[in-house]
Amino acid sequence: MNLVFDLNTIWFFLVGLLLTGYAILDGFDLGIGALHLFTKTDHDRRVMLNSIGPIWDGNEVWLVTGGGALFAAFPEVYATAFSGFYMAFMLLLFSLIFRAVAIDFRSKQIYPLWRKIWDISFCVSSILASLLIGTALGNIARGVTLNDKHEYTGTFWNILHPYALLVGLFVVALFMMHGALFGIIKTEGMLQKQLQKLFSKTFILFVIGYMVITIATFLFAKNLTEHFKASPFLIVFPLLNVLTIANIYWQNKRGKELAAFFSSCATILLLMFIFGLGIYPDMLYSYNNPENTLNIYNAASSQKTLRIMLTIAMIGMPFVIMYTSTIFWIFRGKVKLDSHSY
């Protein structure tokens, strides 16, 4: 494949990096949400909520900033995808709103019914958000129908293609597994044992999903496999991915909580990398007429803006990484409930 390190490629990579940051960070707290109803006692549920309590909000900022960066660097993709997948994005918004307020409101009243309603909201909205994010990725992988004005010509129902839904379900399983691993780090005792069991189950789902998606990609999203056919050495990345997945299982078995979680992070990073490699240099592939495809050149902002944005990112991102890691460090260790907890 031909990789040119121009500004457009750098921004393709950076937007991808922000969205990967989102997938890794919000991935585990969406996973905690998806697993929430499997825990039964009020105490356990509060521990689940508070394991992500101080950080979920910052994690979601990766999506906001990723969306902003997409808007700034590739406005054509932002405009086409957001208006084309209108109902899907609205559903994602509603689930993110419900999720945010469920986390904040849930423990503010002691009535069992109140807590139950918000528990259900938290769980359902987390699953729905994961499903929608995955389905969006599935549609980008498979391609969409675009006209020569770069407008989406399909309907809401076209978005629900079986391949896209499959990717959606896969992402739900991935986040649940990732969330379980995060939960294991943050909890102890019976709850931790339960999360251990949940990990085993979701890990199996994830592995099955991984295999099915790999086969399905060769059938339904052939454009994604072309680089790999043209440059066989790229196969090292999927192979590396298999190793990180095996390592999750291995580290978890050895009782290395952190190592297993970081392996899961690496798995998500590689998955996103392989996905990005597969679609590069396209961003929204038009399968009805490949000439209408939005790629990193015809969808981009001017070179000047990409340069300015790069300066902004280079000044801002080191700070972001600095305070993100500081916050994670301050709130490390097992969850202890106190009067400030959710």
Binding site: A72, H150, T305, Y323
Partner: protein, 449 residues
């Protein structure tokens, strides 16, 4: 139904609802810095109790601001795709900068502010409070930069691409510091400070009326009142300066604000009135002849460009802009009056005994909120029919792929969810206020210091 009209309605609904929360976060953020700063300086536990109480309320307000804010960022793409394609190169950069410089800062340090009381040293906690306050202010900076570029575009050029025209940045700093940026930023921030100040005054006044948490309430009112007086007075300066800038950069908006029709004549100022657009007259009004000319140019006889100087399809709707603007100005004047009254009575030692005034303070919490809303209506409706002043019309900006059913569905969903959220917000806020500050917090002081 017309998806275009519905998209406008949805944007208006979602932005108006969203903007109930960020001004409280900005103003209260500043007050938290002051409260916690006084505590660290004096070690008086009263201020510690105060900081902790208001931090909890801040957390609730912030959560709603975030939940409703993410909607705004998505909506440019979902409902206004043509606009997004046109402005992405310029507007998108400001939005991305907001994410990188403001949101990460704010949400990161909020974790320590809310949950870090027992995890970090008091000084580190105070530093986090300052950072959250900075983050809130930075987010205002970048969104005002983006919006001001829509009002007074600068630092860009228009480029023809294969798919149509779009704006591209030529000079980043000229874009950031467009002619209206500084006036609008200071005006918005002062509005936010007033919102935070009167929020604290309102709750404290209520405690005084109910004779609960009296010392806590008195100390809170004093701090907030100083901010209220400062911000209200500065608002006079920023407001005047904003109006002068509008007269230079968006004359059609200024003409609508005072319903000034004559093409080239001295302009009057109204205290209130009702605009008859057909007859081009203001009815039921109190009028001050030549005063607008005086305020803008320093001379009552100086002519001001009127609405008739613009083609009919380039004039904003007049009466709604006129009303919004006049409600804002009257509210602003009322807030100045009420804050100076408080300061005067405090000096005379009578502030906490005048029950009717305390009742007025309880309801004054609504004043800045109303002024914020109608102020933005003046700015945004006054810019019509343009979405980017002089460059792109609102009619040409929305997503062509949408159908009415989709937008109608999302409007109903937003309406339902926001109604629910608002009811729950008021319910939880009321409960926190009724509960009052934690008394036992003063006892468990030991492990915090």
């Amino acid at each position: 139904m017309d998806p275009f009209f519905l998209s406008r309605l949805q944007f208006a609904l979602t932005i108006a609802f969203h903007y109930l929360f960020p001004p409280i976060s900005i103003g209260l953020g500043l007050l938290l810095v002051i409260m916690e700063g006084i505590y660290l300086k004096t070690k008086n536990k009263l201020y510690h109790q105060m900081t902790r109480f208001w931090v909890k309320i801040f957390g609730l307000v912030f959560a709603l601001g975030v939940a409703t804010g993410i909607v705004m960022e998505f909506q440019f793409g979902t409902n206004w795709s043509t606009y997004s394609r046109f402005v992405g190169d310029v507007f998108g950069s400001a939005l991305a900068a907001e994410g990188i410089f403001a949101f990460f800062l704010e949400s990161g340090f909020l974790a320590i502010l809310l949950f870090g009381w027992n995890k970090v040293k008091p000084r580190t906690h105070f530093l986090s409070t300052i950072m959250v306050c900075f983050g809130a202010h930075f987010s205002a900076v970048w969104i005002i930069v983006a919006n001001s570029w829509q009002q007074t575009p600068a630092g860009h050029h228009i480029v023809n691409t294969a798919l149509g025209t779009r704006a591209e940045i030529v000079d980043f700093w000229q874009m950031v510091l467009s002619p209206s940026t500084l006036d609008r930023l200071t005006h918005t921030l002062m509005g936010a400070w007033q919102t935070g100040a009167f929020f604290v005054i309102s709750v404290s006044a209520w405690y005084l009326l109910k004779r609960k948490h009296v010392e806590f309430a008195k100390a809170g009112i004093k701090i907030a009142l100083v901010l209220a007086v400062t911000a209200s007075m500065l608002q006079l300066v920023t407001g005047h300066s904003s109006a002068v800038t509008v007269s230079e950069t968006q004359p059609a908006k200024l003409a609508a604000m005072e319903a000034h029709y004559d093409e080239f004549a001295p302009a009057d100022l109204y205290l209130f009135g009702w605009v008859n657009n057909k007859q081009q007259k203001v009815q039921l009004s109190i009028r001050m002849p030549g005063m607008l000319s005086f305020l803008v140019h320093g001379k009552t006889s100086e002519p001001v460009k009127g609405l008739n100087a613009f083609p009919e399809d380039e004039r904003p709707p007049v009466n709604i802009v006129f009303q919004a603007y006049h409600i804002m100005v009257s509210t602003g004047l009322f807030l100045i009056l009420i804050s100076w009254t408080g300061l005067f009575l405090w000096w005379r030692g009578r502030l906490f005994n005048i029950r009717w005034l305390l009742w007025v303070y309880v309801f004054t919490v609504l004043g800045p909120q109303v002024a914020n809303q109608v102020g933005w209506m003046t700015a945004e409706i006054g810019r019509q029919p343009w979405i980017v002043y002089g460059l792109l019309k609102t009619d040409d900006a929305f997503s062509p792929v949408l159908n009415g059913g989709e937008v109608l569905t999302s409007i109903f969903m937003f309406g339902f969810i926001y109604f629910l959220l608002f009811a729950l917000f008021i319910f939880l806020l009321n409960q926190k206020i009724q509960h009052g500050p934690e008394v036992e917090e003063q006892i468990e002081e030991g492990h915090i210091a």
